[in-house]
Point group: D2
Chain length 296, copies 4
Amino acid sequence: MVQAFRHVALIGRHESEGVRTTLLEIAEMISERGAEVLIEAQTAQSIGSQRFTAASMARIAREADLAISIGGDGTMLGVARSLAASRVQLVGINHGRLGFITDISLADWRSALSAILDGVYDAEDRTLLSARAMRDGTEIWHDICLNDVVVSRSSRSGMIELQVDVDGVYMYNQRADGLIVATPTGSTAYALSANGPILHPELAGIVLVPVAPQALSNRPIALPDNVEVRIKVIEASEPRVSCDMQVFGDLQVGDEIVVRRAPFTCRFLHPKNHNHYATLRSKLNWHELPILQRPD
Amino acid sequence: MVQAFRHVALIGRHESEGVRTTLLEIAEMISERGAEVLIEAQTAQSIGSQRFTAASMARIAREADLAISIGGDGTMLGVARSLAASRVQLVGINHGRLGFITDISLADWRSALSAILDGVYDAEDRTLLSARAMRDGTEIWHDICLNDVVVSRSSRSGMIELQVDVDGVYMYNQRADGLIVATPTGSTAYALSANGPILHPELAGIVLVPVAPQALSNRPIALPDNVEVRIKVIEASEPRVSCDMQVFGDLQVGDEIVVRRAPFTCRFLHPKNHNHYATLRSKLNWHELPILQRPD
Amino acid sequence: MVQAFRHVALIGRHESEGVRTTLLEIAEMISERGAEVLIEAQTAQSIGSQRFTAASMARIAREADLAISIGGDGTMLGVARSLAASRVQLVGINHGRLGFITDISLADWRSALSAILDGVYDAEDRTLLSARAMRDGTEIWHDICLNDVVVSRSSRSGMIELQVDVDGVYMYNQRADGLIVATPTGSTAYALSANGPILHPELAGIVLVPVAPQALSNRPIALPDNVEVRIKVIEASEPRVSCDMQVFGDLQVGDEIVVRRAPFTCRFLHPKNHNHYATLRSKLNWHELPILQRPD
Amino acid sequence: MVQAFRHVALIGRHESEGVRTTLLEIAEMISERGAEVLIEAQTAQSIGSQRFTAASMARIAREADLAISIGGDGTMLGVARSLAASRVQLVGINHGRLGFITDISLADWRSALSAILDGVYDAEDRTLLSARAMRDGTEIWHDICLNDVVVSRSSRSGMIELQVDVDGVYMYNQRADGLIVATPTGSTAYALSANGPILHPELAGIVLVPVAPQALSNRPIALPDNVEVRIKVIEASEPRVSCDMQVFGDLQVGDEIVVRRAPFTCRFLHPKNHNHYATLRSKLNWHELPILQRPD
């Protein structure tokens, strides 16, 4: 039987004039299908229409069973971080070039969204990570992320030294610009720039990727995603930790960052026959062949 | 309750004089504990003793419940390939520098082996891959491997072009020296030289690592280990495929290599508190810090 | 004063029907300007016209002061290898997508070539390498190359071990798939796939790039181009050496490959304001930004 | 004829008790040979002896013809930065593990230094870079470096976008953590961690190495060292530039960093038959072979 979405939220914070019109058209369509529309408060303000209910992200988290992000991958990431714990399902409509996680183009929104509202879609669960900073046994900060936890040096110091333990077993000391712990989703973000591998979203793993490691033989390592990774700051001035680039800057030497898989996942809804490899090919220019001069 | 090993095989093909003595001592100890000793036929011949039963690998596969490899990682790999389908459990004693999968030194064999025979050990199951070469719907070759399946160009031609499909979905065309499909065990072998990531043995994944890919944006990709990877030879002169470096050289353009997880795993027995990260640190020189000049 | 080209050769071995017409038009234009046209013998045969003088590459090397390659980078490489020692200057017209060293498109040939024949061009000298294989003090093979000398394992063996000395000083033993010695021109060919750096054509350097090195801390090393690199085969089955992918397969363990800068360079003529960086951007997709998901 | 050193400076800022004794012994030896000893002021204070002349770095720069750094590579870097413009020649004695540029061990100082003072040494000239930050045509900062100029993002922002021009020609826009411009000396420092190649000290080149570049096809590029590299900050919050890790943090969007080879070099004196490759092997663990499991 088809799942009915009864409370659908729309979020599109950085929208241009063109997006404004689309947002209202999307709201109309959802409304016509009998579902309640909640427009995120800032979004509502920026489009300047009182036709639909404006709602805070907290209310959306409580009430919505589907949230539609209109924007780029960055907007989608923010929405996912806010709503994942409440298990609101997500659809991403991209107003620019298609993204890794926002795979419906503005041009295709009507047919794609109709099908999804009809219950015709591929659902995909993405792992999130939770990170806590501990000082003398007390939690001083925590956050969740869809992409990555990054512990890094200040730009004023030469490097940071970190000690990494996995499930209580010592793995290594890492002297580097920083260390990334990435989910499969995050494996195509910052970690990929730092020479990390791509992890398929269905792989139950995370990957540790050092940024500019001093030990030249160091390599990214992929671990099962049910482990606890503990990262202790051994040496640094102004060390920092971030979750999806949201920075916590008040770390000190001796603090420990504890990273675990979050107790919930984030569910993305895609048009049927969603093809992750097509996204990779398109985003990563894998289709360009050959590029190097060779003798005939 | 402790598992009793009743039929224990010894294999040490490339043994030196020093190894010969140790082999006989190991055989004695096992025998004294009441288990039957089977010495692999070539091993038996090279040590020149009739004291114990010599047995073919086929007989060992049928009868042994434990096999002890005395040699390096290469010897262990060969033993694992021969015995994995029969679910003979394996112990690796290294006569040189410790290896990735042979983690008992010759100096420690007595205490380590005693404990294992007492049932005090950590068991670890390693994934194997099965590979088949298909031509016009007919299988023309098959093999299994613990490390990797490698499809590669001949050294006479400039490159090979491969088309890769995963579970029937097109992933990419790869123009490169070759493509490695590696298990977690194989991730620290050839794939690591080709810039692949390390996969923890408990991660349920495999990794595809191109060797010298023409598409500079290409990266290794880790996939769940329950997928079927299909590699079609699009362009090459004298293409080849190998399983753990055992080469099949009679491929042609149009042939497909089908790679799947083998229906059995390989069980390694380690001394208690076996520490995979300590092996990585030691083998990969991660402990050497710092190596780069920096201002004070 | 403007240099007059009096004997101009045309070479276009793999031409399609469209290229045939262009070849004849190019020949006409050169002829009308008063220079003698030499059409390389195989090229002449394939276009089937007796209107112009057909000439062997040997005769072209003796008589031509300019040679025009119509084809891709591979055709140009072959022409350069054949004519560099005779100091024939080269122009590359590409019948497909522009290459690294063939930077005039078929659409632009008339204006570009007119200017060059008028003496309006940028000249660029490219380094070549000479390689000799020595056995017991005797030369058993030699060749020259514009891209690279590659010493590599057979595809039947796991790796090759090479000892490398520079100007008589021991550098390292390299266990790998192979070792590339590349010129700046070759730095954007095979070496780039093997993770080598790009060398600007005006840098007086060469680069040694290992392919899949076992020592994970190994890195490409760029050396002044006036050094002698001596590569000794320490361990291998069926080792091979190639110059610009022309393979010599009869190496043995103990043979030494001696690589030096060739005593001549190869002169490419480009349209004025030739821009190497534009070529790099276009060929290497550097213009595609950004590609990774980031939070807004 | 042998060069006589008449004014020899000693610098060893971070010395331990053991270094203190050695410093005085070195000073005694130099003094006995008839040369004047200048001990850098802070060094003099920390060893607490009035036996030799204490001198500021400015005075050392004016008067010394040889300076001896006792410490690690970091100390040597600081000394080189201070004295290079005055063409004071340098010797590095390392109190710990040998460094890349401090290649005399504390144990060998007496014989090594005697030979050097006798004029028996290998001299090696290392390139330095000068960097200037320009805002609206006015220089707001300048510095010199022996290793590298690094333009980087703040640790609070996701990345920096830089536009790079070489000799007035546009090369690329780089979105990354940062961009390193390294000398051959710096090629074994931070740039090596960021996947840059090694440049031999006698190669007349510099190398641009992006740190974690978003364009996955981007690669380090080595250029002749007589070029002008101009790096414009296109997008960033709190961009920074550093010379040998000395940070200038007051950059703004629109500022340009102009990097050129310094008008002077830095001369290192080494014991005869100094072997750069031996240093590389030792520091980079190239001697560790083989490390990967392979079948026998």
